[in-house]
């Protein structure tokens, strides 16, 4: 028999009080983790995609900013076109070091000519590209050839096939990129030449033709010269080239970030309310429970428990309940978010980056410490009051 065992027995014996404290701890820890995972996970995804674009300015057809950003984020289908000559026009502008074209394509849903459904694909020009090739260098020691593709981390060849079938074209997967945690992990990259080859053969091999408008591109990525101002160059692009919008890197996904800030604020408000409510309930229930335990505390003191031991006993009970509740809340939240991360991303229209295990554990430990400290403190105040009364007086209250 020891103090911890006595605390465990008391917890089991006072099941209603224990259940309420565990529930409060589970609720606040779960909600805090959810807020943290959603806000930082989505912010991280936005950053990752933005970083992988690798351009100082993205130029796209005017009026398509939301559609393109959404396609880049969620890797969904998008069909936007602008004249290829935009690239040469960009190249002539002061402050522009390199401009490179990109095509945004996607596979068909449920069509037998595509072995993967709704896959986002980016075709790039190896001669001028500075956005995709740096990643390729890390994963493939040579240039991509005609008919070859490199996939995001999760792109796999279907088990029953040797290659990936796209619009009836057998494309060879020569490697996978490292995990980014964004939807780019499920995208595929190949050269402009390969894209045109697929489009050329698709009328004969696919249920539906892959249409790439002649002399058209989906976007142009711009790298600035040293010392050039992104905002000034973007402004210049929009004034010089009609029908395009130039988005500075810092402003890419601005709407999504604003939506995320609003979502985070709502979650944080909900979180504060939940914390206040849970802490108040714990304080109230501990206070009520201690009033009912005056007699018990008096007996413990009569048989030799010092005030410190009494406080320790009640604190150990509170901390154990907080740890159990907190662990349950955190585990359930982490697992639920893991299971439904794609659904959450679809609903929020933003990808959700699921953290690495180590980072998740650190977050959980931090929240668990916070919840335990809060509940411990709320338990401590009424316990101090009760333990500092004379045992003789508290027993007389019986």
């Amino acid at each position: 028999m020891n103090l911890a065992k006595l605390a465990l027995r008391n917890i089991a014996h006072k099941s209603v009080r224990s259940a309420v404290v565990v529930t409060c701890a589970a609720l606040v820890s779960g909600l805090t983790l959810a807020t943290e995972m959603l806000s930082t996970g989505m912010e991280k995804s936005l950053e990752l995609v933005r970083d992988h674009l690798g351009a100082d300015i993205m130029v796209i057809p005017a009026g398509n900013q939301t559609a393109v950003e959404q396609a880049l984020l969620m890797c969904g289908p998008v069909e936007v076109w602008m004249p290829r000559q935009v690239v040469s026009q960009l190249q002539d502008l002061p402050g522009v070091e390199v401009a490179t074209p990109q095509l945004f394509l996607s596979t068909m849903r449920g069509a037998s000519c595509c072995s993967v459904s709704d896959m986002f694909m980016i075709a790039f020009d190896p001669a001028t590209d500075f956005t995709v090739r740096p990643w390729l260098k890390q994963n493939l020691a040579r240039e991509l050839r005609l008919g070859e593709a490199i996939g995001g981390h999760y792109v796999k060849i279907p088990e029953d096939r040797k290659n990936i079938l796209i619009y009836g074209y057998e494309i060879e997967l020569v490697g996978n990129l490292e995990r980014t945690g964004s939807n780019l992990d499920q995208s595929m990259f190949f050269t402009y030449e390969t894209a045109l080859e697929i489009a050329k053969l698709s009328p004969m091999q696919a249920e539906r033709e892959l249409v790439i408008k002649p002399d058209s591109i989906s976007a142009a990525m711009v790298r600035l010269s040293d010392g050039a101002s992104a905002s000034q160059v973007a402004d210049l692009i929009e004034r010089t080239i009609s029908g395009v919008v130039a988005i500075e890197n810092a402003n890419i996904f601005r709407r999504q970030r604003e939506r995320l800030e609003s979502l985070t604020e709502s979650l944080a408000t909900l979180n504060i309310i939940a914390w206040l409510a849970a802490i108040s309930v714990v304080g109230l229930i501990t206070s009520t429970a201690l009033s009912a335990r005056h007699h018990e505390i008096g007996i413990l003191q009569a048989v030799g428990a010092s005030r410190l031991k009494v406080i320790l006993l009640v604190e150990v009970e509170g901390i154990m309940l907080a740890l159990w509740g907190g662990t349950i809340g955190l585990a359930l939240t982490a697992y639920t978010i893991f299971l439904f991360r794609n659904l959450i991303g679809s609903l929020a229209r933003m990808p959700l980056y699921y953290p690495e295990l180590g980072s998740l554990l650190m977050k959980c430990l931090g929240i668990l410490a916070l919840v335990t400290a809060s509940i411990g403190l709320m338990t401590l105040l009424p316990t101090l009051r009760s333990a500092c009364q004379e045992a003789g007086t508290t027993m007389k209250d019986k």
């Binding site: 009569a302 010092s306 410190l308 045992a391 007086t393």
Partner: protein
Amino acid sequence: MVRLKQVSKRYTAGRNRQVEAVRGVDLSVDKGEFVVITGRSGCGKTTLLNLIAGLARPTVGSVFVGGQDIWELRDVQRSFLRNRMFGFVFQYPSLMPSLTVLENALLPTIFFPGDGDAGTRSRANALLETVGLGDKCSMYPRQLSAGQQQRAVIARSLINNPEVLLADEPTSNLDEQTEREVISLFQDVHASSGITVLLVTHASQLVTHGTRLIHMSGGEISSDNRHGTSEKGVRPIELIKND
């Protein structure tokens, strides 16, 4: 062994109403005495026991246990002294409902562990055997009768080999038969171990069981008799019994 010097205790009851539960008590209890303390309800008997055990702090005066003023000690030292010197039996059910009978008997040992787990466990078993609960060790208090619960409390009070046993109306909730059994248990413990017993009661039939009888009235000791002889000019024991 235990000495109270001009001890008074005032409580605040209700809206700032001061109640003086014990007034200017001088008392000295020697080792091995069986002191029966009687008096009407509210006369200060329980407060006197609480003062002796350091569960209530005197408003005025000093309490000495083994020559030490217990209010000069730190809380942890006083708790240790209470743990080792005193055994408590209360008038109301005082077993922890979440613990078994054996665990209840072991309760005082968790605060200041001494003999080790095996030693205290076998002593607890032996004590429960002595009080007739050897076969009820794994039961919970709710499964015991009131008399059995009180016997379990007596076993708990003796677990640390205390020098003083404080019993506050231990038979007030028991029927006559069980009351006799419990009192007989006290006498056996006193006779076999020489432990000092302070028994508070307002049951007149119990006053003959001690070696010394103290009567309290209005927070003061109104009579104090050893072996039925009158001392300090207080009333004879027969008169007290008829109160």
